[in-house]
Amino acid sequence: MPATFTRHQVEIEKRDTGYGGKPPVDRRPTGGGGGDDNWDSHSSRHGGPRELLIRYRLAVLSGLAGDFVFFAVLVSAFFVRPTAGHIDAGANFVSDWHPIAIPPILWINTAILLLSSLTIEVARRQLFHEIDVMEEWLGLGRPAVRRAAPWLAATILLGGLFLTGQWIAWQQLAAQGLFFATNPNSHFFYLVTGAHAFHLFLGLFALLFALVAIFRLKKVEMRQIALDCTAWFWHAMTLFWIFLFVLLVCYQ
C-alpha cells in the first residue's frame, strides 16, 4: 500500500511521562492524595505522574477482576461438584465427595500471608510519604526507597514462607494418601490451592522485580508504580486466599 499509515505522526517512542510533574503523594485526609482531578482541565496529553499511576492501577485492577472471576468459577465447581452424586444400582444416592481434613499448617500459612499483606502495605505507603517523596523528587537522596526496601524484603520472605507452607501442606496430604486424582474434593483442593500458589509464585517475581526496580528506576513515579501495582496484586491474592480458605474450612 502506498499510503501513509497515519496522517499525523503517531509517537511511538516512550513518552516522558512526568517530567516536571510532581509524583503523587499520600496526603491526608483524602488518602489517595489530593482531590484536584478535574477532567475538564487536566491534560493527559502529557499524562502526569498521577494519571500514569491511575492508569497502571486500572489495568492491574481489570486484570484482577478477571482473576476474581476465574477463582469464582473454580469455586462454583466446589459448590456444584458435591451435589453431583449419582443414583447407584441399588437406587441409593451416592456422592463421592469426601471432606478433606485441612492440614493445620494452613492456619499458620494464612497468618503469614496476612502478615505479608501488612508488610507490603507499609512498604507501599513509604513510597507515598509526602516529605520523603519530595526529597526523592528533588534528587536529595532516596529516603522513601530506603524505608520501603526492608518491608518489601520482609514481604518476599513471608511470601516464600507461605509457598513453602503450602508445599508442606501438600506433602502432608500426600502422606495421608490424598493426591490430586484421589477424589473430587482433592482435585478441587489441589486445583484451587495450586492456582493460587501459581499466582503467588508470579507475585514473588513481581516483588523481586519491585525490589530491584525501586533502586534502579530513575523516576520517582515509576518506582511508585512498580511497588504500588505489586502491592495491589498481593493484597488481592491475600483476599482470594481468605475467600478460598474460608470455603475449604467451613464448607467441606
Binding site: P2, R7, E13, S43, R45, G47, A59, V73, A77, R81
Partner: protein
C-alpha cells in the same frame, strides 16, 4: 498545575523507527496493530467462509468429492462445522469489532495519541495469532479437528474415546481457547485503562462517542466472560489429562466400554460455557451498535437523539447480558422455575435492544440521508439486527424453545443477529475508516454492488433456515437423509440456501478487489471526507475536546452543518474561559 504544564517541557518526539518490519509488524503502534488484527480477521473469515461453503455443498450434494480431499465423512463434516463456528465467533466476530476497530480509532476518538499500555496491547495480538495457529493445527493432528461443536459440551469433549477428533484435535481447541482468553483479557484491560484514564483534555464522559461507550461495556464483559471460559477450559483440560472429573459423570459407558471414575456434572460446563457464551454475543455486537448510531448521525447529518438514553441502553445491555445465559439451557432439564426466570431476564434485555433499534429507525427520518457505502452497510446492519433480533423474544420463551432449540431456527436467529449484523457493521466500519489507513476512499460503485449482492444473498441464505427449523431439522446433521426422517420437503429449500451462500461468498471478491484497488486508485479523501465530528478525523494528534460528539445539523453554524469535537461553537470568548484554555495551552 504542574501536571498541566508538564507538556511544555517534554522532549521533541524521536524519529519513528525505520524499516517495514519495525514499523508495521513488530510494533506497538496501535494503528499498525489494527491492520494486523484486520489481516488476522481476514484470514480467519476466509477460512471460515470456505468451511461454511463446504458445509453447504455437503448438505445438498453429500456425494460430492472436494478437491484435494475427496468425499466428506460424517466426522469431517462435524469437524468443519466446529472449526467454522470457532473461527467465526472468536477470530472474526470478536477480533474485528473488539480488537481491530478499537486499535484503529479508540485512542484517537478519546483524544489520546496512544493506548495506555501499547506493549500489552501488542502482546495480546501475538497471543491471538498464536491461538489461531494452534486452532488451525487441529486440522493436521492425528484423527483431525474436534467434532463437538463450538460449545464443546462434555462428556463428549472430555473423553477422547467418544469420537475422532476428540483427542489431539480437542486439545488443540482447548489450548487455542486458553490463549485466546488470555489475549482477550489483556487487550480489554488495556482498553479499559485507556478509556478511563487516557482521555484527552476536555473529553468528559458526557462527550465520549457512542462507539467508545460500546467498547467500554464490551471490554468489561470481555474481562468477565473470558476469565470464566479460561477457568472452565482449565477444568476441562484437567478432566482430560489429570484424572479429575469436574464434568464427567459416574457410570459412563463409551462405545460399550465402561469407564471408571467420574462423578462430576456436565451441567456445570453448560452453565459456565454459556455464562461466557452469551456475553460473548454482546461483546461482538455492542461495538456494531455503537458504530451504527455514530454513522447514522453522520450520514443523516443530525445528532443522535437522546445520547444519554443510548449510553444507558448500551450499559444496560452489557449488564443484563451477564444474567441471561440460562436461556441456552431451557431443554437441559433444569428447574422449570429457572427456565421462567431466565426467560424473563432475556425478555428484559430485549427492551434496551428495542430502544436502540427504535432510535435508529427514528434517526432515519430526520435530516437528509446520504446513501454512501458505509451508510448502506449500516442500514444492512439494522435490517439484519431487526430480522434476527425479532426471533429472540420467541426463543426466549421456554415453552417455544422446547421445540425450536438446536434446530435451524436457532441457526437462522444467530446468523442474522450476530453473524450478518456483525459482519455488515464490520464492513460499514471498514468502508468508513478506510481513509484513515490509505488517505483514499473506497470505490463507491463497487461498494454498492458489494452491498446489494451481499444483502440479498445473505437474506437468501439465512431467512429460509427459519423454515427448516420449523420443520424440525436439527443442527449438526451431516446429511438430511437419515434412516427415519429425511426431511424431503426441505431439499429445495436447502438447495436454494446453498446457492445463496455461494453467491454471498463470491460477492466478497468484489470487496477484496475494492480494498486493493482503492488503495492505489481511490478518490483522495482529504482530511475529513465524511465531514465527521469525532476525533479520529482531527488533523491534530492531541486535540482538545470542546463539545459533544455528533453535533450535526443546521444549529452547528451558518456555513457547515456539523461541528467537530475539536472545534469550538463560539469562537471567543469560550464559555469556559480560562478554565479551558490555561495559559500556554491555547491551540493555534
Amino acid at each position: 498545575m504542574n501536571a498541566r504544564m508538564a507538556g511544555q517541557a517534554s522532549a521533541p518526539p524521536a524519529l519513528p523507527p525505520r524499516g517495514f518490519l519495525r514499523r508495521r509488524i513488530f510494533t506497538s503502534d496501535h494503528r499498525a496493530l489494527a491492520v494486523l488484527y484486520l489481516l488476522l480477521g481476514l484470514a480467519a473469515v476466509t477460512i471460515g467462509t470456505l468451511l461454511s461453503l463446504v458445509i453447504r455443498v455437503h448438505r445438498v450434494w453429500p456425494a460430492v468429492a472436494f478437491p484435494f480431499y475427496g468425499m466428506l465423512r460424517p466426522e469431517d463434516y462435524l469437524a468443519v462445522v466446529t472449526m467454522h463456528g470457532t473461527l467465526m465467533v472468536f477470530f472474526v466476530l470478536t477480533v474485528v469489532p473488539q480488537s481491530a476497530f478499537p486499535n484503529l480509532v479508540l485512542p484517537a476518538q478519546i483524544g489520546a495519541d496512544r493506548m495506555a499500555f501499547p506493549r500489552l496491547n501488542a502482546a495480546a495480538f501475538w497471543l491471538t495469532l498464536a491461538s489461531l495457529f494452534v486452532l488451525l493445527a487441529a486440522f493436521f493432528v492425528p484423527r483431525g479437528a474436534p467434532i463437538s461443536g463450538w460449545t464443546s459440551y462434555p462428556p463428549f469433549s472430555a473423553i477422547p474415546a467418544t469420537g475422532p477428533g476428540q483427542g489431539a484435535g480437542m486439545d488443540c481447541w482447548l489450548a487455542a481457547i486458553g490463549l485466546f482468553c488470555i489475549a482477550a483479557v489483556a487487550s480489554s484491560a488495556n482498553f479499559l485503562a485507556t478509556i478511563l484514564a487516557r482521555r484527552g483534555q476536555g473529553m468528559t464522559f458526557g462527550r465520549l462517542p457512542l462507539t467508545v461507550w460500546s467498547w467500554l461495556a464490551s471490554s468489561a464483559l470481555t474481562v468477565i466472560a473470558f476469565s470464566t471460559l479460561f477457568a472452565a477450559a482449565l477444568m476441562l483440560f484437567a478432566d482430560r489429562h489429570f484424572g479429575t472429573s469436574f464434568f464427567i459423570p459416574a457410570g459412563e459407558v463409551i462405545s460399550g466400554i465402561p469407564r471408571a471414575g467420574g462423578g462430576g456434572s456436565p451441567m456445570l460446563w453448560l452453565h459456565l460455557f454459556w455464562f461466557f457464551g452469551h456475553p460473548e454475543v454482546y461483546i461482538s455486537i455492542l461495538p456494531g451498535m455503537g458504530l451504527a448510531s455514530a454513522l447514522l448521525a453522520n450520514f443523516t447529518r443530525r445528532p443522535v437523539p437522546a445520547y444519554r438514553f443510548m449510553v444507558a441502553a448500551t450499559l444496560l445491555i452489557g449488564f443484563l447480558g451477564l444474567g441471561v445465559w440460562g436461556h441456552h439451557l431451557f431443554v437441559s432439564g433444569m428447574n422449570p422455575y429457572a427456565g421462567t426466570a431466565f426467560g424473563l431476564t432475556t425478555i428484559a434485555i430485549a427492551v434496551p435492544s428495542s430502544a436502540e433499534v427504535l432510535t435508529w429507525l427514528a434517526m432515519l427520518f430526520r435530516g437528509r440521508m446520504q446513501l454512501t457505502t458505509p451508510m448502506l452497510f449500516t442500514l444492512g446492519f439494522i435490517s439484519f439486527f431487526i430480522a434476527g433480533g425479532l426471533t429472540g423474544p420467541i426463543l426466549a420463551q421456554p415453552a417455544l424453545d422446547a421445540y425450536l432449540h438446536n434446530t435451524f431456527f436457532v441457526v437462522a436467529h444467530f446468523h442474522l443477529v450476530m453473524a450478518m449484523a456483525g459482519v455488515f457493521s464490520v464492513f460499514a466500519g471498514i468502508y468508513y475508516w478506510y481513509p484513515l489507513l490509505t488517505e483514499r476512499l473506497m470505490n463507491q460503485t463497487l461498494g454498492k454492488a458489494h452491498f446489494w449482492i451481499s444483502l440479498i444473498a445473505a437474506y437468501g441464505t439465512f431467512f429460509p433456515m427459519h423454515f427448516a427449523g420449523l420443520a424440525g431439522e436439527p443442527r449438526h446433521y451431516a446429511q438430511l437423509a437419515g434412516p427415519i426422517e429425511s426431511f424431503p420437503s426441505l431439499i429445495p429449500v436447502e438447495r436454494g440456501i446453498t446457492f445463496a451462500a455461494l453467491t454471498l461468498a463470491t460477492a466478497q471478491l468484489i470487496f477484496f478487489f475494492n480494498v486493493i484497488y482503492s488503495a492505489r486508485h481511490g478518490v483522495r479523501a482529504g482530511g475529513n471526507p465524511w465531514r465527521a465530528t469525532t476525533h479520529e478525523w482531527c488533523p491534530d494528534a492531541h486535540p482538545i475536546t470542546r463539545g459533544e460528539p455528533y453535533a450535526y445539523g443546521p444549529e452547528s453554524g451558518p456555513e457547515k452543518d456539523f461541528l467537530p469535537q475539536w472545534e469550538s461553537a463560539t469562537p471567543a470568548p469560550s464559555q469556559f474561559g480560562a478554565r479551558e484554555y490555561p495559559s500556554g495551552l491555547k491551540p493555534e
